[in-house]
């Protein structure tokens, strides 16, 4: 096994452990564990900046513990429930843009480009069955109730941007690009999909983790094939619109 892959696997285990601590033991200990992982990844990335090609991967991977630190510390309870995803996406989006700037990555490098529009539209539609299946697995509470049609549309658009685009920019964009460059196509895709699934441990539903892993692999493959994250972002967003807005309101 390549040394980069060994180090990546170690961090994957550490992130999964920190998620387990957050969900099953105490969120404060979880935040401390994630903070230690974050500092260690940033330090490792700087130390290996000139000698190791995986340096960029470790810098990008720091977004994973950072997402949990940000989501734990944001004062979300002050906001209405329907605004949580939009508010949480702002610092994550900022972190992603800074990570891209530091590494000299442009938006087009991470698939923010309208390539093969018909294929992207087809990919976007996969969000409908995915949302319905995930609803059957999780049965979440509705994100909002008693909304007018106009409010529902606005919330759906916000959800597509904040969960679909921002999460896909992080995982299928920045993380996948740096992981494939450092670890190769197979290991890179599998590794980042595992990180993505790990961050879903909090639903406390092993079937959902497995489902998210499968969807993650599907999205990763499509991003690689089309060179764009537009379709998968829309699909991810539509999945969440169906999961949190449409199915629970039936």
């Amino acid at each position: 096994m390549k040394s980069e892959l060994k180090v990546f696997t170690l961090y994957l285990i550490l992130i999964a452990s920190a998620e387990a601590v957050t969900c099953f033991i105490d969120p404060s200990y979880g935040l401390l564990t994630h903070s230690a992982i974050l500092v260690s990844l940033l330090t490792l990335s700087a130390l290996w900046h000139e000698s190791n090609p995986a340096s960029n991967l470790y810098l990008s991977l720091s977004l994973a513990p950072l997402i949990r630190i940000l989501s734990l510390s944001l004062p979300l309870t002050h906001f209405p429930r329907y605004a949580w995803y939009s508010v949480a996406s702002i610092p994550v989006f900022a972190a992603t843009l800074v990570a891209m700037r530091v590494q000299g990555i442009r938006l087009t490098d991470v698939g923010v480009a309208f390539k093969k529009p018909l294929a992207q539209a087809g990919i976007a539609l996969t969000g409908i069955p995915f949302g319905a299946i995930e609803y059957l697995i999780l049965k979440p509470e509705p994100l909002a109730s008693g909304l007018t049609f106009r409010e529902l549309i606005l919330l759906a658009v916000a959800l597509v941007f904040s969960t679909g685009f921002v999460e896909e920019l992080v995982f299928r964009g920045v993380l996948q690009k740096t992981a494939v460059e450092a670890l190769g196509e197979k290991a890179g895709i599998l590794g980042i999909t595992a990180v993505f699934a790990t961050l879903h441990i909090g639903w406390l539903n092993p079937l959902d983790v497995l489902f998210v892993f499968s969807i993650g692999l599907f999205f990763a493959f499509l991003t690689l094939e089309t060179g764009s994250i537009v379709g998968v972002s829309l699909s991810h967003g539509i999945t969440n619109v169906i999961l949190f807005l449409l199915m629970p309101a039936r």
Binding site: T22, C23, D26, P27, S28, L31, L32, S35, L38, V39, L42, T43, S45, A46, L47, H49, E50, L59, S62, L63, L66, I67, R68, I69, L70, S71, L72, S73, L74, P75, L76, T77, H78, W84, Y85, V87, A88, S89, I90, P91, V92, A94, A95, V98, A99, V102, S162, T163, V166, E167, F196, L199, H200, I201, G202, W203
Partner: protein
């Protein structure tokens, strides 16, 4: 203690826990800002790179800190 954990959204069940987590994130921000100050004062390449990399976590944590402070001020005023 935890009521919701998804990819980007986590909420805790008690206000006290929320305050503790906010305080821990602020401590982390102070630590990272100090590390940036120290690393950018040096001309060695590794430390310069570290100083730039730290922005990845400093900027979003500053956004969180601003929100925490804004809500605290609003709580005091109203």
């Amino acid at each position: 203690m935890i009521s919701t954990v998804t990819t980007t959204v986590t909420t805790v069940a008690t206000i006290a826990m929320g305050a503790t987590l906010g305080a821990l994130a602020t401590l982390l921000l102070i630590l990272l800002l100090s590390a940036k100050e120290v690393s950018t004062a040096d001309t060695r390449r590794t430390l310069t790179v570290l100083g730039r990399s730290l922005d990845v976590s400093i900027i979003p944590l500053l956004i969180v800190f601003t929100l925490i402070v804004a809500f605290k001020v609003l709580e005091v005023l109203y």
